[in-house]
Amino acid sequence: MRHRNTYVPMSTRYFGARITRNEDPALLTGRGLFVDDVRLPAMAHAAVLRSPHAHARIRRIDARRAQAAPGVLAVFVHADLGPLGEPLPKLIPHPSLTYHKTQYALAPDKVRYVGEPVAFVVAESRYAAEDACDQVEVDYEPLPVAAMLEAAAAPGAPRVHDDMDSNVCAHYIQRVGNVEEAFARAPHRFRERFVIDRGASCPMETRGVVAAWDSRSRRLDVWDSTQAPIPIRNGLAEMFGLAEEDVRVIAPDVGGGFGPKVMMFYPEEVLVPLAAMRLGRPVKWIEDRREHLVATNQEREQIHDAEIAVDSDGRILGVRTVFLYDAGAYIPYGLIVPIVASTTLPGPYHIPNYHCEFRAVFTNKTMVSPYRGAGRPHGVFVMERLLDRVARELGLDRAEVRRRNFIQPDEFPYDVGLIYQDNAPLRYDSGNYPGCFDRALELIGYRDWPARQRAARDSGRWLGCGVACYVEGTGIGPYEGARVTVEPSGRVFVATGVGTQGQGHMTSFAQIAADALGVSPREVTVRTGDTGVFGWGTGTFASRAATVAGNAVALAAQAVADKSRTVAASLLEAPPDEIELAGGNAFVRGVPGRSMTLGALARTANPLRFTMPKEWEGPGLEAVRYFTPPQGTFSNGVHACVVEVDIETGQLTVERYAVVHDCGRVINPMILEGQIHGGVAQGLGGAFWEKLAYDDQAQPLSTTLMDYLLPTAAEMPPIEIEHMETPSPLNPLGVKGAGEAGVIPAAAVIAQAVDDALAPLGIQIAQTPLNPNLLWRLITEARRRS
C-alpha cells in the first residue's frame, strides 16, 4: 500500500482521510461481541433437524423418543407452532410475481429442499440437542425432484408446489426502443448462451440467534446475526403480538453479511424466540458450517440466452436477453436478483434498443436471495461477453469496441429507460466512464500487452489479459435515519439503524459527524444495529449505508452543530453565525479565548431548573434526521487483470488485478480499499473456485469447505486500486455506494482473460464459475481438435 495511516491535524476535514478504524482495537484483540459471545444465565441450546430429501412428503413425525432423551427441554414440530405455523412473511412483492411462496418455520407436510427445517430441538447443551435430533422419527415419501434449472422450467417437470401448473412463479419483461426493428436492420447479430452457477456467501460468522424473554416485564430481547435488525424487530412484534417497543433486536458485531443475512425471516429467527418464550429460558442457536451451506440462502444460478446487434463499426444497435432465474424452493425476497441482473446489463454503454425478459423458476434447492453483487455480476458477465464476441467477429480491438459505445461524461443524467430495483427510473446520476476505462488500461499496461503476450507465448507461457466495465446501482431508498447527541463529557454519540457487518460504519460515520461538530472521529461513538438505540430503518444492503445513512448522519450532525452555535451564541454573547466549532470547542470567530467546550454546552443545554430559551427548541445537543433519496446513485468502475493458464493442469493464476473505481466522494480511502479487496476475493472465488454442486436429485455435494473451495490469501493476487471521484448530485455528501464493486465484473474479466490466454486454441468461455477440471477439459478437447 502506498499510503501510510496518518492522522489528519484537527483543523482539517476528516471526510476523505485515511484513518484507521474505530472498531478495530476491540475486533483485533478478541473483544468483539458476536452472537455466539452472548452467554446468558440458564441459557438452553437448540439444534435443527433438517430434511435429507430434496422433495418428499412427510407421512409421519414422531418426536416422543427425542422428547424423552437426556437433557432435552422441548422438541418442536410444525404442529407445535400454533399461529406461527403459517408461511413466513412475504418480503418484497412484485406485480409480476404470481406465486410469492415462502417457507414455513417448520415444514408441515412436505419438504422442498435438502436442509429444510423439520424439527427444532432445545436441550441443556448443543450436544444433547444434536443427539436428540437423531431420535426424531420422520417417515418420508420421496417425490420426483426438480433439480436442474432448465429442466425445472420445462412443462411436465416435477412441481415444487402442488398448487401451481408449472415451476415458473414470475415472468417479467422490460423493453427500451424497438428491438425487433433494430435486429432486423442490423448488419451483424451474435447469439450466445451463458450459464452462471450457484455459489454461497460463506461469511466467517455463520448465522446465529439468541433470544431471552422476561415474563415479568414481558419484553423480548433477541441477538441476531442479521443485516436487518429493525425489520426483524417489527416482524417479531407482529408475529408474537407484542408492542414494537417491547421487542429489542440487536445485531451486535456481525462477521460478514454479504446479502443472505438480510433475508428474513429465516426459520430460526422465529423458532429461537418462540422456544425462549415457551420455556421461559434464554435459547441460543448457532448455525454450523455444514448447515450454512444448505440452510442459508444462496445465489447466482441463471441461464441467459442473449443476443447483440451491432453495426459494422461495432456500435450497439440492440441487445436482447431471455433468461431463467433459479429461485430455489421458495421466493421470499421476490424478484430483486433477476431485476438487478437485467438492469445492470446495459452498464456504461449506449443501448438504444433493449429487451430483457426472465422467468423465475422454483427448484428443489436452497432458496436464492441477493448475495454481494445480487444479479450485477450476471448482467455484466452477459454484456461484457457479448462485446468480446463482437470484437472477435468484427476483428476489432476489444477496448476500442467498448470506447465506441460509452455513455459520455456530458450525457448525465442518463436515462437508461428501465425501472430499477427500487421501483424508480434507472437514471445514471453522474460518472466518467471513458476516463475510468483509460486509467484501467494504463494501469494494466494494455498498450504493450500484445508484445508481452507474444513474448510469453514464445517461452511457452499462456498469458491473458482482461478488461471489463460495470455500472453499479447503489444507495437506494427508502430511507435511513440517525440521531446525533453531544454528551456532557464532550463525546459525540451517533445512533443509526443501519448495522455493520465489517464495513467500518463506526469510523466512516464518525468522520462525517466529526467534521460537522469540529471534534476528532475518536471522540465519536457510533452505535448501529440495536433497535433499542435507534428504531427506524430498513437494513444494510445494496451498497446503501454510506449514501443513505451517511447523509442522515451528516444532516443530523449539521443540525446539532447549528444547535450548538445557538446555545453557544447566548452564552458567549455573539451571533450564532460568528460561532465556530473546532477542537471540541465552540468559540467566537477570531476570539479563541471566548470559548466553551462542547461538553459544557451540552450540560448547559440540559438545565435542571429555571427556564430555557425558546430558540433552543428543547433540551440537549441532539438531533434526529432522515435521508430519503429520490432514487439510487450509480457508481462505476473497470477491472483489468493478467492471468496465466497452465494448459497441462487447467490451473489459473491471477498475476495482476487492477481496479479503477468511481463511487463519488470517498469518505475513507482505506476502508474503501478494504471493501474492494474483500469484494475482489469473493469475485475471484465466484469466477474460478467456488461452485455449489448438486446432483441430479438436488442433493448438495459441497457441504464442507473441503468441497466448496474458498480462495485463500495464497490464491489472491496483489490488487492495484485507483479512485476517481465524480460526486453524486443526489445527496449532500456527493457519495455513492461501494460495497459490491469488487465482485461485480470479476467473472467477466477472468473469462475474457482466459479467452485471451487460450486464443490460439479457440476457446471461448460461456460459463462461470470455472475450475481447473473444466478448463483442462476445454483445453484437452481443443487440442484434440487442432
Binding site: P52, H53, V114, Y140, R290, Q697, Q699, P700, L701
Partner: protein
C-alpha cells in the same frame, strides 16, 4: 450413481440362485448387514451399518426381491434411512450358466441423501465398488466351500 459389473461364481446356476435367495447367506456376505428379517415372502427388514468417508451410520430399512425368474433373474430394491441420511437403490441380477460356473451380471442405481451425500459423495463410487467386491468375494468363498 450407477454401478455395474460382472463376476464369475464357482457353482452351477441353480446353486448360485439358491444362495443369493438365502437370507442367511445374504446376511453373512453383505458387508455391514447386521440384521435381515423376512417379514413377508421376499421382503426383509434390514439394518445396515456402513461408513462412507468420515460418515459412519446405521441405516434401517427394507430389502425386497422382486421380478424373480428362477434361476436366472431378479431385482433387488433397497431403501434405508438413518441419522446420516438415506440410501435408496435398485439392482438387477442376471445369471448365465457357463458349465460348472455361473456368470453374474449386475447393474444398479444407488441414491444417497442427506449428510452422506454432502460429505461422502466423492467417496461413494469407490466405497460402492469395494462393498460389492466384498459381497461377491464372500459368495465365492461360500460357494467354493459348499460345492
Amino acid at each position: 450413481m450407477k454401478l455395474e459389473g460382472t463376476n464369475t461364481l464357482p457353482a452351477p446356476i441353480e446353486t448360485v440362485w439358491k444362495t443369493i435367495n438365502d437370507p442367511e447367506a445374504l446376511r453373512r456376505c453383505t458387508p455391514g448387514l447386521d440384521e435381515l428379517k423376512e417379514f413377508e415372502p421376499d421382503r426383509y427388514e434390514a439394518t445396515l451399518r456402513i461408513g462412507i468417508a468420515a460418515v459412519k451410520g446405521t441405516y434401517k430399512g427394507t430389502l425386497a426381491i422382486t421380478d424373480k425368474q428362477a434361476p436366472s433373474h431378479c431385482k433387488l430394491v433397497l431403501q434405508g434411512s438413518g441419522n446420516s441420511g438415506f440410501v435408496r437403490g435398485e439392482g438387477v441380477i442376471d445369471l448365465e450358466p457357463q458349465g460348472d460356473v455361473t456368470l453374474v451380471k449386475w447393474a444398479g442405481d444407488l441414491q444417497v441423501g442427506g449428510l452422506i451425500a454432502g460429505v461422502g459423495q466423492r467417496m461413494l463410487m469407490g466405497v460402492g465398488k469395494m462393498l460389492i467386491g466384498q459381497f461377491f468375494k464372500c459368495l465365492e468363498q461360500q460357494l467354493g466351500q459348499g460345492v
